[in-house]
């Protein structure tokens, strides 16, 4: 049977991808950020996941205001790097896992999470920057990736509670797949940031720290946070953090926090990163 061994939370700031792609990762501004992911790179090389479920949001790249799916699962064989307005990132194509993705779609829908099934989709920085952070610059991504896109741009996004429960349903879906697979789940976005309006540039380190603490120790409590608290405390774009609760919901009630990293800023954003392992058994 397939099994989720661990969950990873990480920001997905586009400027991080640009810095890496332009060879700026050793510059003083960026170096601490890339250094912050080195322990995870070592860990994931040992962990050797077969598949990553990557929870992210599309930033007006594949989806526009024409169609706004709340939850969408990528069931294609391959996903190309999207042109977000400055040319596509020169990163490897993302290879999907069609059998598992379709199994998940069916399991989730019958479990009453009405996923949008996507057979053609380019993937933007929301998905490729996390892969770059945990795998570095590689010829090909070392595992299959199933994109799970969440609407967090058009209000209202799904609540944290809904996301948390979707994570639990994802776990049931994975564990009912017969093939032996080591699956990791990534929740991405955040942490506190606001890109718009006269309050642009907002950062709330106390909120961010409490959120990271809660992920490890009190996910049920985090799942009760209403949307307005995210917007008020973490900024209008900080609401991306609900996606981390999908990752957390897919893990055991009690997890081991293997690693944590926090840094301000990357462009307008507080970079947060956490690695949580299931205890197994």
């Amino acid at each position: 049977m397939a099994r989720i061994s661990a969950g990873v939370g990480t920001s997905h700031v586009p400027a991080i991808g640009v810095a890496l792609d332009l060879g700026k990762s050793e510059e003083p501004y960026w170096q601490p950020i890339f250094a912050g992911y080195e322990p995870t790179k070592v860990w994931i090389a040992r962990e050797k996941p077969d598949v990553i479920i990557l929870v992210y949001n599309d930033h007006a790249s594949s989806f526009s205001l024409e169609i706004i799916p709340t939850f969408a699962i990528g069931c294609a064989a391959e996903f190309a790097s999207a042109d977000e307005g400055w040319g596509p990132r020169a990163v490897p194509a993302v290879v999907g896992h069609q059998e598992l993705a379709w199994h998940m779609a069916q399991s989730l829908i019958l479990d009453e999470f009405d996923m949008t099934i996507v057979n053609k989709m380019d993937v933007d920085h929301g998905l490729t920057v996390p892969l770059s952070l945990i795998f570095g610059q590689v010829e090909s991504w070392p595992c299959r990736v199933i994109p799970l896109a969440v609407n967090v741009i058009q209000y209202p996004p799904p609540t944290g509670h809904r996301c948390y429960n979707l994570g639990k349903a994802i776990r049931r879906a994975i564990e009912s797949f017969e093939e032996e697979l080591n699956v990791l789940i990534l929740g991405t976005g955040g942490l506190s940031h606001q890109l718009q309006g006269t309050r642009a540039g907002l950062i709330n380190p106390d909120w961010d720290k409490a959120f990271l603490d809660g992920l490890t120790r009190d996910p049920d409590g985090l799942a009760r946070i209403p949307p307005i608290d995210y917007v008020r405390e973490a900024g209008s774009e900080g609401i991306e953090m609900v996606m981390w609760l999908i990752m957390r919901g897919a893990l055991d009630a009690k997890v081991d926090e293997l690693y944590r990293f926090y840094h301000v800023p990357a462009s307008s954003t507080a970079v947060g990163h956490i690695v949580l392992a299931n205890r197994g058994g």
């Binding site: 205001l65 718009q196 309006g197 309050r199 540039g201 950062i203 209008s236």
Partner: protein, 126 residues
């Protein structure tokens, strides 16, 4: 309609259904700029390119004059407006700085210093 509790958050526009309806054509214009050939056409003759979209006169003026907060008020969403900034060769942070009323340098300086503090920025009521 805008959910009233959100209106209490200072300097923040909630991209709800009302704003989405208001800004639909503005945002879809921005979306068109993810295609390289459209970026070229737009940069060659901005006004003519805008004729392809049903923008209001105010939206059109705000785009041509790159008045970011104005575009925000007229239904623009920051992730869509970022495509317009990108067509100008500018990063999202440039747009955020403009909306915050700061020069790009002062904005970057604020961010390196830890960003805008939450204290005093939670509520219009102080």
């Amino acid at each position: 309609m805008t959910e009233s509790p959100f209106r209490d958050i200072p300097g923040t526009t909630l991209f709800d259904g009302r704003m989405s309806r208001l800004g639909y054509h503005l945002n879809m214009f921005c979306m068109s700029l993810i295609k390289a050939e459209n970026r070229t056409m737009f940069k060659a003759d901005e006004s003519r390119y805008l004729d392809r979209f049903s923008l209001t006169a105010d939206q059109r003026r705000a785009v041509l004059e790159r008045r970011w907060n104005n575009m925000l008020d007229l239904g623009g969403n920051v992730y869509y407006l970022a495509k317009l900034a990108a067509a100008d060769g500018l990063p999202v942070a440039h747009l955020s700085a403009g909306m915050a009323g700061l020069s790009p340098e002062d904005y970057a300086h604020m961010m390196v210093g830890g960003g805008r503090r939450i204290d005093g920025n939670r509520s219009k009521r102080g």
